[in-house]
């Protein structure tokens, strides 16, 4: 009995260590476009008003500053002639609430964790060569 308990304890200890290592060794997202195999990075599309919508997705441990870093970098790439303005309208943490678990012979505490973080905003370029929107939209509809 003692042997079984000590083995179980060792197993739990190892699992906990591995889990903790998983948290500690979380690596920062690599800058690049999101794709079928790449869940984290940026994604953008041109808008009818001449601007671009840029979305940045990172793992739950990432900070708002890291998200902004990707956004600003992508904005600079989209606007080689310079930025007219940007507008970040969404900075969101997708949270998961785990109910308190039933732990045999003990108490369990409910927890919350971030499954992912997202930032989305608009990018408007200064007049000049624009890599993603070749057409020019004149405000007011006049052309």
């Amino acid at each position: 009995m003692t042997s079984w308990r000590s083995r179980a304890g060792l197993g739990v200890g190892l699992a906990a260590t591995l889990l903790l290592q998983g948290c500690v060794t979380a690596t920062p997202a690599i800058y690049g476009p999101i794709g079928p195999e790449v869940p984290y990075g940026y994604k953008d599309r041109p808008n009818p008003d001449g601007g671009h919508t840029v979305l940045v997705i990172m793992a739950g441990h990432a900070t708002a500053a890291e998200l902004r870093g990707f956004f600003e970098r992508r904005a600079a790439e989209l606007c080689p002639a310079g930025l007219e303005r940007t507008n970040i309208f969404r900075v969101q943490a997708n949270e998961y609430y785990a109910a308190a678990p039933y732990v045999y012979g003990s108490t369990g505490v409910g927890s919350r964790s971030r499954m992912g973080v997202e930032l989305e905003g608009y990018v408007y370029c200064k007049a000049g060569p624009d890599v993603a929107t070749p057409k020019t939209v004149v405000e007011g509809g006049a052309s």
Partner: protein
């Protein structure tokens, strides 16, 4: 046993796999719009006021038997005492400057104004805008567009979020899904309102303070002040209040400013100048809800799960209004402040002001008299 379990497992898995998702928004069809014409609009009286979000930590002591269950309940009470007390205190303070009554009458006024401007137009119009408290008049109203609202201060009090959900039910015109399904039509798509959409407004976020030694001192002073009784005395040692205060001070002394701690500073900012900031945000949110509800009720485009967001409006302060294009929320409207810089979370529970609860009780108590 296996013979029973295996089919059950298959059935449960199949049930999960066959539900085909559709957006929550339900636009009206042209035929429904023509049938409805002038329609009654009812603002469902909000009964929570500006609620304060906080996170309730659940504790399960059941694993240790009855003693464990009791210990778990006690542990939950201790863990949650401080954040709950803070959230309720803040909800009480906010309700002093922004009452539930003014929230409701304000939305009715905005909708009346917006509806009056569109009365001569074709399609669905709202000649009659009323306020209905569900506590007094429970149940869905037939042939009436109903608007349900929630006003929530985020956990750190940096953002006020206002959500309005509009629905229209009619016994004469049952809902018929516009979507095609590869298998059977999901049960959820065979019933429910003929029209439904959501309008969400996020206030301008208040900047979250950085933790400095000075701020930590202010936080501890605030905790002590909150723990004082009416005569200004701190709780006696060996009391639950004293232990709660000590635990809060311990937490305040770490190097992290939690959203709950941050809210102590930011809620005060909302309250300054007799709540001018919160009142301005509520009015702007209600104007957004009124304008876009009246536009959307006559819009027939069916949202899809895979569309793109549309930018509908950019105000002079760069606030934007978007119609979401994909996922469950497709078709819904979001008004967002410009240049958001940090996360705002809304926990898993809310605190409601005492004055709000009392006000709603009064409405409920008066209901039978009014009906006589």
């Amino acid at each position: 046993m296996r013979k029973v379990l295996a089919p059950l497992l298959c059935l449960s898995m199949a049930a999960c796999a066959t539900v085909e998702p559709v957006p929550a928004a339900r636009p009206l069809s042209q035929a429904s719009i023509a049938t409805m014409g002038p329609t009654k609009l009812s603002v469902t009286g909000n009964e929570t006021g500006v609620a304060k979000a906080w996170f309730y930590t659940e504790v399960n002591g059941g694993g240790a038997g009855l003693v464990g269950a009791i210990a778990g309940a006690i542990a939950a009470a201790i863990i949650n005492a401080a954040p709950s007390a803070r959230a309720h205190k803040q909800a009480n303070e906010v309700a002093e400057v922004q009452t539930v009554e003014t929230l409701n009458t304000g939305l009715v006024a905005e909708l009346k104004e917006e509806a009056a401007a569109g009365l001569s137009g074709p399609g669905v119009t709202f000649p009659n805008v009323v306020l209905t408290y569900k506590s007094a008049t429970p149940g869905a109203l037939d042939d009436t567009v109903e608007v349900v609202t929630s006003y929530t201060l985020s956990e750190d009090s940096s953002v006020l979020r206002i959500v309005a959900v509009a629905t229209y039910n009619s016994a004469a015109i049952p809902y018929k899904t516009p979507y095609t399904f590869t298998k059977a039509v999901p049960k959820s798509e065979t019933k429910g309102p003929l029209y439904r959409n959501t309008f969400t407004y996020y206030s301008i976020p208040l900047p979250v303070p950085t933790l400095t030694p000075e701020l930590r001192e202010r936080l501890i002073a605030n905790i002590r002040e909150s723990a004082m009784d009416a005569s200004g005395a701190l709780p006696l040692e060996d009391t639950a209040e004293y232990r709660t205060m000590q635990r809060e001070i311990e937490l305040a002394n770490d190097d992290k400013l939690t959203p709950n701690e941050t809210s102590l500073f930011l809620t005060r900012e909302w309250l300054s100048d007799n709540g001018a900031m919160i009142k301005a945000e509520v009015q702007r949110a209600q104007d957004f809800v009124a304008r876009y509800l009246i536009l959307d009720i006559n819009r027939t485009a069916i949202p899809s799960l895979t569309g793109e967001d549309e930018l509908l409006e950019t105000a002079t302060d760069q606030r934007t209004v978007r119609r979401l294009g994909k996922g469950y929320e497709a078709g819904s409207y979001v008004s967002s402040a410009a240049n958001v810089i940090s996360f705002a979370t809304y926990g898993n529970t809310v605190a409601i002001a005492k004055s709000t609860v009392t006000y709603i009780k009064g409405i409920k108590a008066a209901a039978p008299k009014a009906a006589k």
